[in-house]
Structures are given as C-alpha cells and as structure tokens.
C-alpha cells in the first residue's frame, strides 16, 4: 500500500497563541456536542416553557401573587435565569464525563497550559447557557413583553455575565468530583437552592429574616434582580419586588459585579485544582 508521504510535523513550542487555540478548540468541541444532543436541547426548552406558560398562567389566574402585574411577566426573567443555570451546570458536567470516559487524558497530556482547558470549558458551557437563555428570551412577546433594542441588549449582556459565572461554579464542582453520579447528586444539592432562593419565583420583599438572609447569599439573586428590573423598567412598581441591602436597592452594576466576581473566583480555583490533576 503506497501512502502519500508528508514531512514530519513540527509542533511549535508552547506559547500564549497555542493556549488560545486550545481554548478555542475545547470550546468548539463542547458546542458540537451541545448541538448534537437534541434530546437535551428539547428537554431544556420544555422545562422553562412549562414554568412560564403552565405554572405562570395557572398560578396567576388563581392567586395574583404579584398584584396587578401578569405573573408570567414577573416569572419571565427568573425562568430565563433558571434555564441558563441548568444548562450551564450540565455543560460543566462534561468535565466529569470526559474523565470517566478517558477523553480527559487526551487534553491533560497536550502541550498547553491547563488553565486554557478550564477556560475553554467555561466558555463552552457559557455559550450553551447563553443559547438556552436566548431561547427563553424569545418567548417574551408570547406573554406580552414588548421588546426594545435596548431591553434585548441589556438582557443579552446580563445573560452573558450569568452564564459565565454559573458555568465557572459548575466547572469548579466538576473538577473536584470524580464520578458522574456524585456530580449529578451534588448539582441537585447546589442548583435547587440557588434557584429557589434567587427570587426567580417570588418577590424578595416582606420575607422572614432567615429567608431574606439566605436569598442575599445566593449569587443567582444578583442575576435575577437586574434582569427583572430591565424587563419591568416601564412598570412603576418594579422596584417593589427587588432585593435590597437594608432597604437600599442595589444598583445593576454592583449586582453584575457580584455575579462576575463570583464566577472569576470560582474559575480561578477551578484552574488551580485542574492544574494539580494527575
């Protein structure tokens, strides 16, 4: 069998450029996998749709917990955050998956800095989370949210910060956990409280102290709040739902800084832990 010969390849020495290429390809691979996993995509559209249209419509018709405001419009930013939260965590779980199925080794022996793999993973999960958030975002007009270019831009920006932060937390958990079952269990333990305490489902006012304090610790609170503020910006009572520090409504940029900061710290820890992996 005659085989065309090519000259032996010369792998260039490692540089920031090779690290950047590694980030890009790790990110690209996660997207290919996300795109191919159609059942997961469908499932992850169904869940927010159920919350928004079934829960929002049914609950809103009977009890009017948000006064004159359509409950679905109130839930809309929360459900957007929820969809992002779930998708990001599952995407981060691919790290555990890769380790169980061996692919991790392929990445661990490559001549690149380990952090580039972690960053690639975080960006991959964040992108998937973004796509998910945008799918929910697109449901807005169906429940009477009027889009303006500014509103869409603000929500997109907030989704980017949220996706990145959540995936980073997920990556940190994934790096520390050895088996996929354990990861899934831990994700339930982390995701559900984050979701319920974030104010995605109810206004963060007039809460008992213990619950109020718990909501303040949840980083997701600071992502749901500015998104809701943007959506309700033309409703006068908007601020009456929001989270406050002793009565002080927290400005959007502070909230987003908290979310982004949490993400960066998580990512830094994840990169550090990942670097030690044998």
């Amino acid at each position: 069998m005659a085989i065309a010969r090519t000259a032996p390849v010369v792998v260039p020495p490692r540089s920031w450029l090779s690290d950047l290429r590694a980030v890009r390809i790790v990110w690209h691979r996660d997207l290919i996998r996300y795109w191919r996993d159609k059942p997961r995509m469908i499932a992850s559209i169904l869940q927010p749709a159920l919350y928004l249209f079934v829960f929002g419509t049914g609950m809103g018709a009977g009890m009017r917990p948000t006064g004159g405001l359509d409950l679905r419009v109130f839930l809309y930013p929360g459900v957007m955050a929820m969809a992002t939260l779930f998708t990001c965590f599952f995407s981060a779980g691919s790290i555990v998956w890769d380790r169980e199925f061996g692919f991790m080794r392929e990445m661990l022996v490559a001549p690149v800095r380990r952090y580039s793999i972690v960053v690639g993973k975080a960006l991959g999960g964040a992108t998937a989370g973004m796509v998910q958030g945008v799918l929910v975002l697109a449901m807005g007009p169906l429940i009477g949210v009027t889009f303006t270019p500014l509103l869409v831009l603000v929500l997109l920006a907030e989704l980017i910060v949220l996706s990145f932060a959540i995936t980073s937390i997920g990556v940190l958990v994934a790096v520390k956990i050895k088996s996929f079952q354990a990861f899934m269990a831990l994700v339930q333990i982390i995701i559900m409280p984050m979701f319920f305490l974030s104010g995605a489902l109810f206004p963060l006012r007039n809460l008992p102290t213990w619950l109020h304090v718990a909501t303040l610790i949840d980083p997701l609170t600071y992502a749901v709040d500015p998104m809701r503020r943007a959506v309700l910006s033309r409703v006068s009572e908007a601020e009456a739902f929001g989270v406050t520090w002793s009565g002080w409504p927290i400005p959007t940029f502070v909230e987003l800084a908290i979310v982004a900061g949490t993400g960066l710290i998580a990512l830094a820890f994840a990169a550090h832990e990942f670097g030690k992996m044998e």
Binding site: V9, V11, R21, D98, F103, M104, R105, A110, P111, E278
Partner: protein, 327 residues
C-alpha cells in the same frame, strides 16, 4: 544522538504502595522497546511518569532529551500516547477527533489536512472519517487512537498495551503499523505488553516485576541466557538413538510422547551434526527455541500468568495465604 528515554533511579509511591522501586533505563532513538510484565508490576505507572501524567517520588526521567518534571511542555510536544482505555470522544467523528488533537497540539493549520489523510490512510480509516466514533468497533477505535497519536509526528510513541482485547487479525495489523512507523519516521516506540508473543517483535525488552527491572536485553539474548533449545526427533529406533546421543554427543535424552527429546544449545546448528553422526535414521525433527515465557519464568520465578494471579490475590488481601501455599 539524544536518547529517546533516559531514566535513573525512578521511584513512585502511592501511599503505602511502592509501585516503582528504582528503575534505570535507556532507550535509543528509533528503537522498538518493550516493557514486559504482569499487571500491577509498575509498567503503567512508569509510562505515566514518562508522559508527565504522574510525578515521580524520586529519580530522574528524560524523554526526547527533556526532563519530565522541569520541561513538561517540551516533553509533551515530542510524545504521542495510546492508552489501554479509549481516550476518544465517541460523539465526534473520527476526523473531528483528529482535528481536535491537531489544534490542541498547535499544528500549523496548512499541514493538518494532508497529515490527517496520511495517518488515516495508514490505519485504513480514511473512508470512515466522517463516521462518529460511536459506530466504531474496538479495533477501529484503537487504530484511530494510533493515527491520532501520530498526527503531530512525535519522537516517542508510547503504547500502553496497544493490542489488549483485540482479535488476532487486528493485533497483526497494529504491529504492521508499528513497524511501518519506525521505518518511515524513525519514531521510537515504547510499549508495554503482557503478551509474550508480542514482546518478540521488540528490539529490546525490559522485564519488570514488582516495580523493578529484572532483565533488559534483546529477545534473542534473553532467550539465549535462559539456555537451550528443545529438540525432538522421531527415529526408526528410539532406544538406539538415545544410546547414540549419550555415546556420541554426551547428551541425556528421553522418550516423551513417542519422540526422543533433549535440550541443546543452538539447536538449529546442532541438527546437521545430528543427521551426519547419529547413525540412526531420523524421520522427523522439531526444534523449539526457548520462549519468552521461559525467560520470564527464569527471571521472576513464576510464569506471567501465575504472577498475575498472585497480584490479584494480593489485591484481595490473600497475600499471606498465597505465600504459605507456595512454600
């Protein structure tokens, strides 16, 4: 010329277990070098250290002239790896797996397509490049892993049990690639195996047992050190033949299963003399070289199968019982 692998005083300890206890090793560039030993002897641990996946507890190791601790990136640039377990992404196509590798290794983009075709042609998977790896058989996956390990033209290719669990036909073709590789790109092949017949393909073999190297030489020399070939002849008169062997060659022989059987050095060279001088008509001749099984037995005191069985027993906490039983 730089040594492909240079190891001195290598130790690796996991908690109480000393997996590697003082290994010295030199592998020449372009050599096919085999690491032979039972499961749990320290083969995989040594490979992991050489591939920068584990840190040695003590000792020095250089691969392609670079220190595995201080120059990790340099080592990684120059090695290719094929592990026992699959490290492919089943959800991606064969080509996507290889392209991922090319990007991760920073291969110049211009040459990726040509190189991809070359390595996939070599392992006979070019036609299947757009299939997802999910649909591949075990043998195809292993071939794809070898192709991937070669994408970036490594100086040293590490193959950890490259043919374990494969059918004989696939094993044969994998060995064909290995030899082709060595010729074409002067790649050093460092492989581990616990198949005796595969070790024969290597130019040199290190026999490793309980974390140390107990013998290191060419298969021929190892076998020669173990000793004699076994010769079996069918004759017209076995008793006369046995008497003649004793009288003319001073060789003790015995009748086993209807054949006169004896041991002699360089059996193939002895046979012509036998025909000329025995004086008893010979109908059949069979000369068997000592096998690596004999070699392993001679150096470790147990056959490779027994050694593995013992390793398993130890894992089960039955070490003491097994030792008592052997005495």
């Amino acid at each position: 010329m730089t040594l492909a692998v240079h190891v001195r005083g290598l130790h690796k300890r996991y908690g109480d277990i000393e997996a590697v206890r003082g290994i010295d090793l030199d592998v020449n560039a372009g050599e096919i070098f085999g690491f032979l030993g039972p499961n749990g002897a320290g083969k995989s641990t040594t490979i992991k250290i050489l591939c920068t996946l584990a840190r040695p507890t003590a000792g020095d190791a250089k691969v392609a002239g670079h220190d595995v601790l201080r120059e990790r990136d340099e080592v990684r640039r120059h090695i290719g790896l094929v592990f026992q377990e699959s490290t492919l992404d089943d959800y991606l196509t064969a080509e996507q797996n290889l392209r991922f590798h090319a990007e991760l290794y920073g291969m110049p983009s211009k040459i990726v397509a040509a190189r991809l075709e070359q390595v996939m042609e070599m392992v006979g998977l070019w036609e299947r490049r757009t299939s997802r790896v999910q649909t591949f058989s075990g043998g195809m996956k292993r071939r794809l892993e070898i192709a991937r390990g070669l994408m970036h033209s490594p100086r040293v290719l590490f193959l950890d049990e490259p043919t374990v669990g494969l059918d004989p036909q696939t094993r044969a073709s994998i060995w064909r690639y290995i030899r082709e590789l060595k010729q074409r790109e002067m790649i050093t092949i460092f492989l581990t195996t616990h198949y005796m017949d595969e070790a024969e393909y290597c130019e040199r073999i290190a026999i490793i047992d309980r974390g140390t190297i107990v013998a290191l030489d060419t298969p021929e020399n190892l076998k020669a050190k173990v000793g004699k070939d076994r010769v079996q002849i069918g004759t017209a008169d076995d008793d006369a033949a046995i008497a003649a062997l004793k009288a003319k060659f001073d060789i003790e022989s015995a009748n086993r299963e209807g054949l006169v059987t004896f041991a002699v050095e360089n059996g193939e060279q002895f046979v012509p003399r036998l025909f000329a001088d025995l004086g008893v008509p010979i109908r059949t001749v069979h000369v068997a070289r000592p096998s690596l099984d004999d070699v392993f037995l001679a150096y470790t005191g147990s056959t490779i199968r027994d050694a593995e069985a013992n390793a398993l027993e130890k894992a089960g906490g039955m070490a003491r019982m097994a030792r008592v039983a052997r005495r």
